[in-house]
């Protein structure tokens, strides 16, 4: 066997080892969801167990899981759509602007993304009360969109700057309007950048619980808030939590698995 092949195998073994280390805690979480309550806490802790769906039944009896899931989907979906609608044009505009202040402006958007939740939450709560959106999905979507669209703007700014402007110029000499060149040429060629930033946004909205905890009510509550509730409850076991965590993690994990190709592509251009 030659040196290159040996090296390749060594690299792969190392990678597999790293991956396994990173996945072990996840495996533990998944396994608790299929353990009967009596086996989750055993002294000493043990690996083997009798699989059961008891925990899932218990989740459904405690929570309106479908309603939670629906809220999570609506909030992340709504916010990601709005963020892209606002952020992609803004990022494009800043990237194509010849003003020297454009990149400064892009950093302004990045700075907005850094804002800690508490700093804006209570004033925002009052505003939502005054316009009557408190307790609706819109309240969460609106504030998430603020953070997400700032991020999308910044990310798409970097992305579009890495794309040559010739494509849109060609489109305009071909007879497109400015809007046409943007929509028909610039946007389609920035697809992976958009998918990558959308993924980041969805991850943020889906996992965030401070804003929705404050801004939603019973019927509009997303999964993340329910997880918080479950965590603070005496008679909800680890297993039930594990089962509930399935609903909050599996969709995102699946999405990341399917779209990670775009993740890399999008980030590739986004960093240059």
């Amino acid at each position: 066997m030659n040196a290159a092949a040996t090296q390749l195998i060594a690299r792969r073994v190392l990678l597999v080892a790293i991956t396994v280390v990173f996945l072990l805690p996840v495996a533990w979480l998944i396994s608790t969801a299929y353990k009967p309550s009596s086996q989750i806490f055993s002294i000493p802790p043990r690996l083997g167990f009798t699989p059961t769906l008891e925990q899932f039944r218990s989740v459904f009896s405690y929570f309106h899981v479908w309603s939670l899931l629906k809220s999570s989907l609506i909030i992340s979906g709504g916010s990601v759509i709005l963020s892209l609608l606002l952020g992609v044009p803004a990022g494009y505009s800043l990237a194509r602007s010849r003003s020297r202040l454009a990149s400064l402006c892009a950093y302004f958007f990045l700075a907005i993304r850094m804002v800690p939740a508490v700093a804006a939450l209570i004033p925002f709560y009052m505003v939502m009360r005054d316009i009557g959106l408190l307790g609706t999905w819109w309240a969460v979507i609106i504030i998430n969109t603020m953070l997400n669209c700032a991020f999308v703007t910044w990310m798409m700014f970097s992305y579009f700057r890495s794309l040559p402007p010739e494509l849109e110029e060609a489109a305009m000499t071909d007879g497109c309007t400015q809007m046409g060149a943007f929509l028909k040429v610039a946007v389609p060629s920035a697809r992976s950048g958009m998918i990558a930033s959308a993924l980041f946004c969805i991850m943020f909205s889906w996992n965030d619980f401070l804003y929705p905890m404050f801004l939603t009510r019973l019927d509009t509550k997303p999964l993340s808030v329910a997880l918080l509730t479950a965590y603070g409850t005496k008679d909800i076991t680890w297993g039930t939590l594990g089962a509930l965590a399935h609903f909050s993690t599996v969709p995102i994990v699946l999405m990341a698995l399917f779209l990670n190709r775009y993740f890399v592509q999008g980030a590739t251009n986004g960093v240059q």
Binding site: S38, I43, Y125, M213, F214, R217, T233, K234
Partner: protein, 431 residues
């Protein structure tokens, strides 16, 4: 052909008939049920009663016509969201389960409707004499006015492992001195057997449990003047005892336990004794979650020698949001009356709420059959003390300060005296 014809005619008549009947009925319903069309939203702590409240909602609708929506939240979330609701006048909740210790804040900020006049008006209907005075006083009133109405009272009791005590030839401890001694005796780490367990987790968990022990060891959070006296000698001593119990008799993980972890460790058979709210007691005999079924006993919480024999009382009242309109307020009061009424409250407890508060419940054979520890609870209520955690408006901050102090001591990061001195300094700033 003719049969078919007549059949269809019959159907038609029947249809008309049913429509008419249902019309008259619904009209009658509307008359019978004064709260038809009203929706009440209740913010509930996720104690056992939370789910029971939700399960009672259909029954309430049947009785009154009003819809009841129950939003169950954890303690921190409940406090944050309901406070935000009050402060923002957002009328998000009509009814809120109020922890006994929030009474001061409720009263000072007029978050809830003052129920005093309604209670007086409906005293007969409420059968007030049947409710223990300590409960009415500490779960409902603040400075003599009703900021909420009690609906879920808890007694602080001693839960212990009969089998272990019998094996060691011991009896349930009669005072705190015995408690400490027994806890040490029953500890054997090699067998994963510990004498004692209590909350050690930073935050309300450790603060509340320690305040319980503190009171039984003769300590007090407030001085005679109503100002904090966190670093009194009695408090420092009791914290030293608490620390000693953790170091010598508690499972090593206890410093991370909150109520759930503590109960779990008892149900798993890790600990021989703990003081706990009576509400958890039924769980010890539920084989799906407990490994100590039939091996446990409930007794009066021990008090140190020379300290007045009072027992901790805690629990929840139902408060009516002061911001909502009068019709909603009336409806909310109707719900409270309905819930605490003798038959419904009994059913509430039978369904597992663990919220006994009427004298009649202590001797009710049906309840007794299910909950054999009721006499202990009755005794606790007779000598109940709902004030060992000061129900003043500054309580949340004091609890936080104490939690940090006690937790630091348990973690070995500070000495009791120093920690409480520091806590006292921080607490004084609040007044």
């Amino acid at each position: 052909m003719s049969t078919l014809h007549s059949a269809s005619r019959l159907t038609a008549i029947a249809a008309i008939g049913t429509t008419l009947v249902s019309l008259t009925f619904s009209a009658a319903w509307a008359q019978d049920k004064p709260l038809s069309g009203v929706t009440l939203t209740l913010a509930s702590q996720n104690d056992q009663f939370g789910a029971v409240l939700a399960n009672l909602a259909p029954k309430f609708k049947e009785a009154t016509g009003a819809e009841l929506k129950v939003e169950i939240m954890d303690y921190g979330q409940l406090l944050t969201k309901t406070t935000a609701d009050y402060l923002g006048d957002t009328k998000g909740y009509d009814l809120v389960t109020m922890d006994i210790v929030w009474a001061g804040a409720y009263s000072e900020n007029r978050y809830s409707v003052d129920l005093t006049d309604w209670v007086a008006r409906d005293a007969a209907e409420l059968e007030l004499d049947d409710i223990y005075p300590v409960i009415l006083e500490s779960l409902g009133q603040y400075n003599g006015r009703y900021v909420a109405f009690p609906f879920a009272a808890y007694a602080n009791v001693l839960a212990y492992r009969k089998d272990l005590f019998d094996a060691a030839g011991l009896k349930a401890p009669a005072d705190m001195e015995e408690f400490v001694a027994d806890a040490k005796k029953l500890t054997d780490p090699s067998k994963k057997q510990y004498g004692f367990v209590a909350n050690g987790q930073l935050g309300p968990a450790v603060a509340q449990d320690w305040m319980q022990y503190n009171s039984q060891l003769g300590g007090s959070i407030l001085g005679a003047d109503g100002k904090p006296a966190l670093n009194s000698e009695a408090n420092v001593n009791s914290l030293a005892v608490y620390k000693q119990l953790f170091a010598e008799a508690a499972p090593p993980g206890a410093i991370e336990y909150d109520w759930g972890g503590r109960e779990e460790s008892f149900r798993q058979g890790l600990a021989a004794m703990m003081q706990t709210w009576s509400v958890g007691a039924p769980g010890y005999s539920d084989p799906s979650i407990s490994k100590v079924v039939g091996k446990t006993g409930i007794a009066l919480a021990p008090v140190a020698k020379g300290v007045k024999q009072t027992y901790g009382v805690g629990g929840w009242g139902l408060a009516v949001n002061a911001d909502i309109d009068d019709k909603q307020k009336e409806a909310a009061w109707t719900f409270i009356k309905w819930l605490v009424s003798k038959p419904i409250h009994k059913e509430f407890n039978l369904m597992g709420a663990g919220s006994f508060m009427r004298r009649s419940q202590m001797t009710d054979p049906e309840l007794l059959a299910k909950f054999d520890f009721l006499p202990v609870i009755a005794e606790t209520y007779e000598h109940g003390n709902g004030e060992y955690r000061p129900r003043i408006p500054q309580y949340p901050e004091i609890q936080d300060i104490l939690g940090k102090a006690v937790n630091s001591v348990l973690a070995g990061a500070a000495e009791p005296k120093a920690a409480l001195d520091q806590a006292q300094a921080a607490a004084e700033k609040l007044f």
